[in-house]
Symmetry: C2
Subunit: 251 residues, 2 copies
Amino acid sequence: MPKGIIENSENYQPGLSIDCVIFGFHDNQLKVLLIKTPYEEKWSLPGGFVPLEQDIDTAAITVLNDRTGMEGIFLRQFSTFGRVKRNDKHFNDLVLEYYKIPKEAGKWFAQRFVTIGYYALVDFLKAIPHKENSKEKIEWIDHKEVPELILDHKEILDKALATLRIELNLMPIGYNLLPEKFTMPELQKLYETILDKKLDRRNFLRKITNIGILTKLDEKKSNVAHKAPNLYSFDKDRYEEVLKNGLNQGW
Amino acid sequence: MPKGIIENSENYQPGLSIDCVIFGFHDNQLKVLLIKTPYEEKWSLPGGFVPLEQDIDTAAITVLNDRTGMEGIFLRQFSTFGRVKRNDKHFNDLVLEYYKIPKEAGKWFAQRFVTIGYYALVDFLKAIPHKENSKEKIEWIDHKEVPELILDHKEILDKALATLRIELNLMPIGYNLLPEKFTMPELQKLYETILDKKLDRRNFLRKITNIGILTKLDEKKSNVAHKAPNLYSFDKDRYEEVLKNGLNQGW
Protein backbone atom coordinates (compact mmCIF):
# COMPACT_ATOMS: atom_id res chain seq x y z
CA MET A 1 0.00 0.00 0.00
CA PRO A 2 2.42 2.74 0.99
CA LYS A 3 4.28 2.80 -2.32
CA GLY A 4 1.53 4.35 -4.45
CA ILE A 5 0.73 6.76 -1.69
CA ILE A 6 4.31 7.84 -1.10
CA GLU A 7 4.63 8.60 -4.80
CA ASN A 8 1.38 10.62 -4.84
CA SER A 9 1.66 12.09 -1.40
CA GLU A 10 0.50 15.54 -2.48
CA ASN A 11 -3.01 14.06 -2.78
CA TYR A 12 -3.14 13.00 0.86
CA GLN A 13 -3.57 14.84 4.14
CA PRO A 14 -0.03 15.12 5.57
CA GLY A 15 0.85 13.45 8.86
CA LEU A 16 -2.55 11.83 9.32
CA SER A 17 -3.50 8.16 9.12
CA ILE A 18 -6.48 5.95 9.90
CA ASP A 19 -6.26 2.66 11.79
CA CYS A 20 -9.18 0.26 11.96
CA VAL A 21 -9.79 -2.25 14.72
CA ILE A 22 -12.16 -4.73 13.07
CA PHE A 23 -13.59 -7.12 15.63
CA GLY A 24 -15.14 -10.32 14.35
CA PHE A 25 -17.64 -12.32 16.35
CA HIS A 26 -19.02 -15.75 15.56
CA ASP A 27 -20.16 -18.64 17.72
CA ASN A 28 -18.75 -17.30 21.01
CA GLN A 29 -15.40 -16.29 19.56
CA LEU A 30 -14.12 -12.73 19.41
CA LYS A 31 -11.33 -12.14 16.90
CA VAL A 32 -9.56 -9.17 15.43
CA LEU A 33 -8.43 -8.67 11.83
CA LEU A 34 -4.66 -8.26 11.62
CA ILE A 35 -2.11 -7.88 8.84
CA LYS A 36 1.46 -8.97 8.49
CA THR A 37 3.36 -6.97 5.93
CA PRO A 38 6.40 -8.46 4.21
CA TYR A 39 8.76 -5.82 5.63
CA GLU A 40 8.06 -6.24 9.35
CA GLU A 41 8.08 -9.22 11.69
CA LYS A 42 5.33 -7.67 13.78
CA TRP A 43 1.66 -7.62 12.86
CA SER A 44 -0.41 -4.48 12.41
CA LEU A 45 -3.94 -3.12 12.26
CA PRO A 46 -5.34 -2.47 8.79
CA GLY A 47 -5.04 1.20 8.03
CA GLY A 48 -4.66 3.86 5.42
CA PHE A 49 -4.27 7.52 4.68
CA VAL A 50 -6.77 10.32 4.09
CA PRO A 51 -7.18 11.56 0.49
CA LEU A 52 -7.42 15.37 0.47
CA GLU A 53 -10.84 15.13 -1.17
CA GLN A 54 -12.26 12.60 1.30
CA ASP A 55 -13.88 13.01 4.73
CA ILE A 56 -12.01 11.10 7.44
CA ASP A 57 -15.07 8.85 8.00
CA THR A 58 -15.12 7.96 4.30
CA ALA A 59 -11.42 7.11 4.41
CA ALA A 60 -12.12 4.75 7.31
CA ILE A 61 -15.04 3.10 5.49
CA THR A 62 -12.75 2.59 2.50
CA VAL A 63 -10.23 0.71 4.66
CA LEU A 64 -13.00 -1.53 6.03
CA ASN A 65 -14.49 -2.24 2.58
CA ASP A 66 -11.12 -2.88 0.96
CA ARG A 67 -10.10 -5.29 3.69
CA THR A 68 -13.33 -7.22 4.30
CA GLY A 69 -15.59 -6.60 1.29
CA MET A 70 -18.24 -5.50 3.77
CA GLU A 71 -20.43 -2.44 3.31
CA GLY A 72 -22.95 -0.62 5.45
CA ILE A 73 -21.25 -1.80 8.60
CA PHE A 74 -21.33 0.22 11.77
CA LEU A 75 -17.87 1.84 12.01
CA ARG A 76 -17.18 4.14 14.88
CA GLN A 77 -14.41 6.64 15.52
CA PHE A 78 -13.23 6.12 19.08
CA SER A 79 -9.98 8.03 19.66
CA THR A 80 -7.09 9.83 18.01
CA PHE A 81 -3.56 8.84 18.94
CA GLY A 82 -0.90 11.52 18.79
CA ARG A 83 1.98 10.99 21.12
CA VAL A 84 5.22 12.35 19.63
CA LYS A 85 6.93 9.05 20.34
CA ARG A 86 4.36 6.90 18.56
CA ASN A 87 6.44 7.26 15.41
CA ASP A 88 9.35 4.94 14.86
CA LYS A 89 12.25 5.75 12.57
CA HIS A 90 13.30 2.11 12.39
CA PHE A 91 9.85 1.12 11.10
CA ASN A 92 9.88 3.89 8.50
CA ASP A 93 13.31 2.81 7.28
CA LEU A 94 12.07 -0.77 6.85
CA VAL A 95 9.15 0.39 4.68
CA LEU A 96 11.26 2.69 2.55
CA GLU A 97 13.96 0.06 2.14
CA TYR A 98 11.48 -2.63 1.18
CA TYR A 99 9.90 -0.45 -1.52
CA LYS A 100 13.33 0.87 -2.58
CA ILE A 101 12.13 4.45 -2.13
CA PRO A 102 14.89 7.03 -1.91
CA LYS A 103 15.02 8.96 1.38
CA GLU A 104 14.10 12.24 -0.31
CA ALA A 105 10.90 10.84 -1.87
CA GLY A 106 10.10 9.08 1.39
CA LYS A 107 10.13 12.24 3.49
CA TRP A 108 6.34 12.42 3.46
CA PHE A 109 6.07 8.98 4.99
CA ALA A 110 8.84 9.67 7.50
CA GLN A 111 7.15 12.74 9.04
CA ARG A 112 5.28 12.59 12.35
CA PHE A 113 1.91 10.84 11.99
CA VAL A 114 -1.17 11.23 14.13
CA THR A 115 -3.67 8.40 13.65
CA ILE A 116 -7.44 8.29 14.03
CA GLY A 117 -8.78 5.01 15.41
CA TYR A 118 -12.06 3.46 14.23
CA TYR A 119 -13.63 0.20 15.29
CA ALA A 120 -16.21 -2.11 13.79
CA LEU A 121 -17.85 -5.35 14.89
CA VAL A 122 -18.73 -7.84 12.16
CA ASP A 123 -19.55 -11.52 11.75
CA PHE A 124 -16.17 -12.95 10.85
CA LEU A 125 -17.71 -15.72 8.75
CA LYS A 126 -19.32 -13.12 6.49
CA ALA A 127 -16.18 -11.02 6.03
CA ILE A 128 -13.59 -12.11 3.49
CA PRO A 129 -10.15 -10.83 4.49
CA HIS A 130 -8.46 -9.27 1.49
CA LYS A 131 -4.69 -8.95 1.00
CA GLU A 132 -3.33 -5.99 -0.86
CA ASN A 133 -0.50 -8.01 -2.32
CA SER A 134 0.58 -11.63 -2.43
CA LYS A 135 3.38 -11.14 0.10
CA GLU A 136 1.06 -9.88 2.80
CA LYS A 137 -0.86 -11.98 5.32
CA ILE A 138 -4.26 -10.97 6.67
CA GLU A 139 -5.97 -13.09 9.32
CA TRP A 140 -8.65 -13.21 11.98
CA ILE A 141 -6.76 -13.71 15.22
CA ASP A 142 -8.36 -14.54 18.57
CA HIS A 143 -8.37 -11.34 20.66
CA LYS A 144 -6.61 -13.20 23.48
CA GLU A 145 -3.82 -14.42 21.22
CA VAL A 146 -2.78 -11.20 19.55
CA PRO A 147 0.94 -11.30 18.64
CA GLU A 148 3.30 -8.35 19.03
CA LEU A 149 2.06 -5.36 17.02
CA ILE A 150 3.93 -2.47 15.37
CA LEU A 151 4.14 1.05 16.84
CA ASP A 152 1.28 1.77 19.30
CA HIS A 153 -1.16 -0.60 17.61
CA LYS A 154 -1.57 -2.69 20.76
CA GLU A 155 -2.60 0.42 22.67
CA ILE A 156 -5.06 1.30 19.89
CA LEU A 157 -6.51 -2.23 19.95
CA ASP A 158 -6.83 -2.21 23.75
CA LYS A 159 -8.58 1.14 23.72
CA ALA A 160 -10.98 -0.04 20.99
CA LEU A 161 -11.92 -3.07 23.08
CA ALA A 162 -12.37 -0.94 26.21
CA THR A 163 -14.59 1.44 24.20
CA LEU A 164 -16.64 -1.42 22.76
CA ARG A 165 -17.21 -2.73 26.30
CA ILE A 166 -18.31 0.69 27.53
CA GLU A 167 -20.56 1.18 24.54
CA LEU A 168 -22.38 -2.06 25.31
CA ASN A 169 -23.90 0.03 28.10
CA LEU A 170 -24.96 2.76 25.70
CA MET A 171 -26.34 0.93 22.69
CA PRO A 172 -27.59 -2.41 21.48
CA ILE A 173 -25.45 -4.89 19.59
CA GLY A 174 -26.14 -8.27 18.08
CA TYR A 175 -27.83 -7.48 14.80
CA ASN A 176 -25.79 -9.13 12.02
CA LEU A 177 -23.81 -11.07 14.60
CA LEU A 178 -26.45 -13.62 15.59
CA PRO A 179 -28.73 -15.77 13.41
CA GLU A 180 -32.05 -14.10 12.56
CA LYS A 181 -33.73 -16.16 15.28
CA PHE A 182 -31.72 -16.73 18.40
CA THR A 183 -32.09 -17.89 21.97
CA MET A 184 -31.53 -15.85 25.11
CA PRO A 185 -28.45 -17.93 26.04
CA GLU A 186 -26.98 -17.17 22.59
CA LEU A 187 -27.48 -13.44 23.08
CA GLN A 188 -26.07 -13.60 26.61
CA LYS A 189 -23.03 -15.47 25.30
CA LEU A 190 -22.37 -12.62 22.84
CA TYR A 191 -22.25 -10.13 25.72
CA GLU A 192 -20.18 -12.48 27.87
CA THR A 193 -17.65 -13.04 25.09
CA ILE A 194 -17.15 -9.34 24.48
CA LEU A 195 -17.08 -8.44 28.18
CA ASP A 196 -14.98 -11.52 28.98
CA LYS A 197 -17.01 -12.32 32.07
CA LYS A 198 -19.95 -14.42 33.19
CA LEU A 199 -23.25 -12.60 33.60
CA ASP A 200 -26.11 -13.51 35.88
CA ARG A 201 -28.86 -15.12 33.78
CA ARG A 202 -31.82 -13.42 35.49
CA ASN A 203 -30.23 -9.95 35.57
CA PHE A 204 -29.29 -10.19 31.92
CA LEU A 205 -32.80 -11.30 30.94
CA ARG A 206 -34.35 -8.42 32.88
CA LYS A 207 -32.01 -5.75 31.53
CA ILE A 208 -32.10 -6.83 27.91
CA THR A 209 -35.88 -7.21 27.99
CA ASN A 210 -36.27 -3.71 29.45
CA ILE A 211 -34.49 -2.20 26.46
CA GLY A 212 -37.45 -3.34 24.37
CA ILE A 213 -35.54 -4.33 21.22
CA LEU A 214 -36.45 -8.03 21.31
CA THR A 215 -39.47 -9.83 19.86
CA LYS A 216 -40.24 -13.11 21.60
CA LEU A 217 -41.25 -15.51 18.83
CA ASP A 218 -44.02 -18.03 18.96
CA GLU A 219 -41.63 -20.91 18.37
CA LYS A 220 -38.93 -22.78 20.20
CA LYS A 221 -35.54 -23.99 19.17
CA SER A 222 -35.73 -27.41 17.60
CA ASN A 223 -33.15 -30.20 17.78
CA VAL A 224 -32.87 -29.72 21.49
CA ALA A 225 -33.42 -32.71 23.73
CA HIS A 226 -35.13 -31.24 26.80
CA LYS A 227 -36.75 -27.93 27.55
CA ALA A 228 -36.40 -26.29 24.11
CA PRO A 229 -35.50 -22.61 24.66
CA ASN A 230 -37.61 -19.76 23.29
CA LEU A 231 -36.53 -18.04 20.13
CA TYR A 232 -36.21 -14.26 19.79
CA SER A 233 -35.56 -11.84 16.96
CA PHE A 234 -34.63 -8.15 16.98
CA ASP A 235 -37.39 -5.60 16.48
CA LYS A 236 -35.43 -3.78 13.78
CA ASP A 237 -37.30 -0.45 14.02
CA ARG A 238 -36.92 -0.29 17.76
CA TYR A 239 -33.30 -1.48 17.51
CA GLU A 240 -32.45 1.35 15.07
CA GLU A 241 -34.20 3.84 17.32
CA VAL A 242 -32.22 2.76 20.39
CA LEU A 243 -29.00 2.73 18.34
CA LYS A 244 -29.71 6.33 17.40
CA ASN A 245 -30.87 7.64 20.77
CA GLY A 246 -28.87 5.49 23.17
CA LEU A 247 -30.04 3.09 25.81
CA ASN A 248 -31.01 5.88 28.16
CA GLN A 249 -30.47 3.71 31.21
CA GLY A 250 -28.98 6.77 32.84
CA TRP A 251 -30.04 9.47 35.23
CA MET B 1 -2.46 33.83 17.68
CA PRO B 2 -2.19 32.57 14.13
CA LYS B 3 0.43 35.12 13.07
CA GLY B 4 3.37 33.71 14.99
CA ILE B 5 2.37 30.21 14.01
CA ILE B 6 1.95 30.96 10.34
CA GLU B 7 5.45 32.41 10.31
CA ASN B 8 6.91 29.37 12.09
CA SER B 9 4.71 26.77 10.54
CA GLU B 10 7.54 24.28 10.02
CA ASN B 11 7.48 23.68 13.78
CA TYR B 12 3.84 22.54 13.79
CA GLN B 13 2.05 19.42 12.65
CA PRO B 14 0.54 20.32 9.26
CA GLY B 15 -3.22 20.32 8.75
CA LEU B 16 -4.03 19.50 12.37
CA SER B 17 -5.59 21.70 15.03
CA ILE B 18 -7.03 21.36 18.53
CA ASP B 19 -10.35 22.85 19.64
CA CYS B 20 -11.35 22.98 23.29
CA VAL B 21 -14.91 23.07 24.56
CA ILE B 22 -14.47 24.43 28.09
CA PHE B 23 -17.69 24.13 30.06
CA GLY B 24 -18.03 26.21 33.18
CA PHE B 25 -20.44 25.35 35.97
CA HIS B 26 -21.35 27.46 38.97
CA ASP B 27 -24.51 27.84 40.98
CA ASN B 28 -26.81 25.99 38.56
CA GLN B 29 -25.48 27.71 35.47
CA LEU B 30 -23.69 25.94 32.62
CA LYS B 31 -21.60 28.19 30.40
CA VAL B 32 -19.05 27.73 27.67
CA LEU B 33 -15.86 29.71 27.08
CA LEU B 34 -15.94 31.46 23.70
CA ILE B 35 -13.69 33.85 21.84
CA LYS B 36 -14.37 36.62 19.38
CA THR B 37 -11.40 37.45 17.21
CA PRO B 38 -11.07 40.89 15.67
CA TYR B 39 -11.21 39.54 12.09
CA GLU B 40 -14.51 37.65 12.26
CA GLU B 41 -18.04 38.60 13.33
CA LYS B 42 -18.70 35.07 14.53
CA TRP B 43 -17.45 33.62 17.79
CA SER B 44 -15.21 30.58 18.07
CA LEU B 45 -13.96 27.89 20.43
CA PRO B 46 -10.51 28.44 21.91
CA GLY B 47 -8.03 26.35 19.97
CA GLY B 48 -4.50 25.96 18.80
CA PHE B 49 -2.06 23.95 16.79
CA VAL B 50 0.18 20.99 17.63
CA PRO B 51 3.90 21.68 17.98
CA LEU B 52 5.89 18.89 16.33
CA GLU B 53 7.58 18.13 19.65
CA GLN B 54 4.38 17.96 21.67
CA ASP B 55 1.86 15.16 22.25
CA ILE B 56 -1.66 16.12 21.13
CA ASP B 57 -2.91 15.86 24.74
CA THR B 58 -0.20 18.30 25.86
CA ALA B 59 -1.17 20.73 23.11
CA ALA B 60 -4.76 20.60 24.39
CA ILE B 61 -3.68 21.17 28.00
CA THR B 62 -1.66 24.18 26.82
CA VAL B 63 -4.77 25.72 25.23
CA LEU B 64 -6.74 25.21 28.45
CA ASN B 65 -3.98 26.65 30.65
CA ASP B 66 -3.34 29.62 28.37
CA ARG B 67 -7.01 30.50 28.24
CA THR B 68 -8.12 29.89 31.84
CA GLY B 69 -4.97 29.82 33.97
CA MET B 70 -6.20 26.45 35.26
CA GLU B 71 -4.00 23.40 35.70
CA GLY B 72 -4.57 19.78 36.56
CA ILE B 73 -8.08 19.92 35.17
CA PHE B 74 -9.73 16.89 33.68
CA LEU B 75 -9.54 17.42 29.91
CA ARG B 76 -10.93 14.73 27.68
CA GLN B 77 -10.53 14.06 23.97
CA PHE B 78 -13.97 13.26 22.60
CA SER B 79 -13.89 13.30 18.79
CA THR B 80 -11.90 14.31 15.72
CA PHE B 81 -13.62 16.35 13.03
CA GLY B 82 -12.45 15.87 9.47
CA ARG B 83 -15.07 16.58 6.86
CA VAL B 84 -13.49 17.99 3.70
CA LYS B 85 -15.97 20.84 3.73
CA ARG B 86 -15.25 21.95 7.29
CA ASN B 87 -12.62 24.32 5.90
CA ASP B 88 -13.69 27.71 4.67
CA LYS B 89 -11.66 29.73 2.19
CA HIS B 90 -13.48 32.93 3.13
CA PHE B 91 -12.47 32.53 6.78
CA ASN B 92 -8.84 31.86 5.83
CA ASP B 93 -8.78 34.95 3.65
CA LEU B 94 -10.09 37.04 6.56
CA VAL B 95 -7.31 35.83 8.85
CA LEU B 96 -4.55 36.34 6.29
CA GLU B 97 -5.86 39.77 5.33
CA TYR B 98 -6.14 40.86 8.97
CA TYR B 99 -2.55 39.87 9.70
CA LYS B 100 -1.37 41.19 6.31
CA ILE B 101 0.22 37.86 5.51
CA PRO B 102 1.00 37.33 1.82
CA LYS B 103 -0.86 34.42 0.22
CA GLU B 104 2.34 32.46 -0.34
CA ALA B 105 3.38 32.60 3.31
CA GLY B 106 -0.21 31.80 4.31
CA LYS B 107 -0.39 28.54 2.39
CA TRP B 108 0.20 26.51 5.53
CA PHE B 109 -2.82 28.03 7.20
CA ALA B 110 -4.96 27.72 4.06
CA GLN B 111 -4.51 23.94 3.72
CA ARG B 112 -7.17 21.46 4.80
CA PHE B 113 -7.35 21.15 8.60
CA VAL B 114 -8.60 18.25 10.66
CA THR B 115 -9.30 19.21 14.26
CA ILE B 116 -9.24 17.19 17.47
CA GLY B 117 -11.93 18.12 19.99
CA TYR B 118 -11.31 18.14 23.75
CA TYR B 119 -13.70 19.11 26.51
CA ALA B 120 -13.27 20.17 30.13
CA LEU B 121 -15.64 21.06 32.92
CA VAL B 122 -14.46 23.72 35.39
CA ASP B 123 -15.89 26.07 37.98
CA PHE B 124 -16.26 29.27 35.97
CA LEU B 125 -15.68 31.46 39.02
CA LYS B 126 -12.25 29.91 39.48
CA ALA B 127 -11.16 30.27 35.85
CA ILE B 128 -9.87 33.59 34.62
CA PRO B 129 -10.49 33.98 30.88
CA HIS B 130 -7.34 35.22 29.20
CA LYS B 131 -7.21 37.17 25.92
CA GLU B 132 -4.29 36.68 23.61
CA ASN B 133 -4.42 40.27 22.46
CA SER B 134 -6.28 43.43 23.34
CA LYS B 135 -8.55 43.26 20.29
CA GLU B 136 -9.91 39.86 21.18
CA LYS B 137 -12.90 39.12 23.41
CA ILE B 138 -13.13 36.00 25.57
CA GLU B 139 -16.26 35.32 27.61
CA TRP B 140 -18.26 32.74 29.50
CA ILE B 141 -21.53 32.46 27.58
CA ASP B 142 -24.60 30.56 28.76
CA HIS B 143 -24.76 27.29 26.83
CA LYS B 144 -28.32 28.10 25.77
CA GLU B 145 -27.37 31.50 24.36
CA VAL B 146 -24.42 30.59 22.19
CA PRO B 147 -24.15 33.00 19.22
CA GLU B 148 -23.26 31.92 15.69
CA LEU B 149 -19.87 30.18 15.61
CA ILE B 150 -17.23 29.90 12.87
CA LEU B 151 -16.72 26.81 10.71
CA ASP B 152 -18.11 23.64 12.34
CA HIS B 153 -17.58 24.90 15.89
CA LYS B 154 -21.28 24.61 16.74
CA GLU B 155 -21.21 20.94 15.74
CA ILE B 156 -18.09 20.45 17.89
CA LEU B 157 -19.76 22.17 20.85
CA ASP B 158 -22.96 20.11 20.46
CA LYS B 159 -21.01 16.88 20.30
CA ALA B 160 -19.00 17.84 23.39
CA LEU B 161 -22.20 18.46 25.33
CA ALA B 162 -23.73 15.19 24.11
CA THR B 163 -20.54 13.38 25.18
CA LEU B 164 -20.52 15.05 28.58
CA ARG B 165 -24.13 13.92 29.11
CA ILE B 166 -23.32 10.35 28.11
CA GLU B 167 -20.24 10.32 30.31
CA LEU B 168 -22.32 11.30 33.34
CA ASN B 169 -23.45 7.67 33.09
CA LEU B 170 -19.90 6.40 33.06
CA MET B 171 -18.08 8.46 35.64
CA PRO B 172 -18.58 10.76 38.58
CA ILE B 173 -18.49 14.53 38.31
CA GLY B 174 -18.82 17.29 40.84
CA TYR B 175 -15.42 17.47 42.45
CA ASN B 176 -14.11 21.04 42.03
CA LEU B 177 -17.56 22.17 40.85
CA LEU B 178 -19.35 22.12 44.21
CA PRO B 179 -18.30 23.52 47.59
CA GLU B 180 -16.34 21.07 49.71
CA LYS B 181 -19.48 20.32 51.72
CA PHE B 182 -22.68 20.23 49.73
CA THR B 183 -26.27 19.07 50.02
CA MET B 184 -27.99 16.39 47.98
CA PRO B 185 -30.21 18.99 46.24
CA GLU B 186 -27.06 20.90 45.21
CA LEU B 187 -25.54 17.78 43.69
CA GLN B 188 -28.80 16.88 41.96
CA LYS B 189 -29.00 20.40 40.53
CA LEU B 190 -25.54 19.96 38.98
CA TYR B 191 -26.76 16.85 37.14
CA GLU B 192 -30.03 18.51 36.17
CA THR B 193 -28.27 21.57 34.78
CA ILE B 194 -25.92 19.51 32.63
CA LEU B 195 -28.65 17.12 31.48
CA ASP B 196 -31.14 19.95 31.09
CA LYS B 197 -33.94 17.93 32.67
CA LYS B 198 -35.59 17.37 36.03
CA LEU B 199 -34.62 14.19 37.85
CA ASP B 200 -36.66 12.25 40.34
CA ARG B 201 -35.34 12.99 43.85
CA ARG B 202 -35.57 9.44 45.21
CA ASN B 203 -34.12 7.79 42.13
CA PHE B 204 -31.23 10.22 42.09
CA LEU B 205 -30.51 9.68 45.79
CA ARG B 206 -30.54 5.90 45.33
CA LYS B 207 -28.31 5.90 42.25
CA ILE B 208 -25.76 8.40 43.48
CA THR B 209 -25.55 6.68 46.86
CA ASN B 210 -25.00 3.31 45.20
CA ILE B 211 -21.89 4.62 43.45
CA GLY B 212 -20.30 4.94 46.87
CA ILE B 213 -18.34 8.15 46.31
CA LEU B 214 -20.17 10.23 48.92
CA THR B 215 -19.48 10.65 52.61
CA LYS B 216 -22.53 11.71 54.62
CA LEU B 217 -21.26 14.24 57.15
CA ASP B 218 -22.28 14.51 60.75
CA GLU B 219 -23.55 18.05 60.26
CA LYS B 220 -26.40 19.85 58.57
CA LYS B 221 -26.52 22.95 56.47
CA SER B 222 -26.88 26.06 58.63
CA ASN B 223 -28.72 29.26 57.79
CA VAL B 224 -31.69 27.24 56.63
CA ALA B 225 -35.07 27.94 58.22
CA HIS B 226 -36.73 24.52 58.40
CA LYS B 227 -35.50 20.99 58.00
CA ALA B 228 -31.82 21.73 57.49
CA PRO B 229 -30.53 19.31 54.81
CA ASN B 230 -27.67 16.90 55.40
CA LEU B 231 -24.22 17.79 54.17
CA TYR B 232 -22.07 15.49 52.09
CA SER B 233 -18.51 15.49 50.80
CA PHE B 234 -16.77 13.39 48.18
CA ASP B 235 -14.73 10.42 49.33
CA LYS B 236 -11.76 11.47 47.23
CA ASP B 237 -10.03 8.06 47.10
CA ARG B 238 -13.18 6.28 46.06
CA TYR B 239 -14.01 9.12 43.62
CA GLU B 240 -10.62 8.76 41.91
CA GLU B 241 -11.05 5.01 41.75
CA VAL B 242 -14.47 5.28 40.08
CA LEU B 243 -13.14 7.96 37.72
CA LYS B 244 -10.43 5.53 36.69
CA ASN B 245 -12.49 2.36 36.43
CA GLY B 246 -15.90 3.69 35.40
CA LEU B 247 -19.21 3.51 37.17
CA ASN B 248 -19.69 -0.10 36.20
CA GLN B 249 -23.45 0.17 36.34
CA GLY B 250 -23.46 -2.04 33.29
CA TRP B 251 -24.04 -5.68 32.45
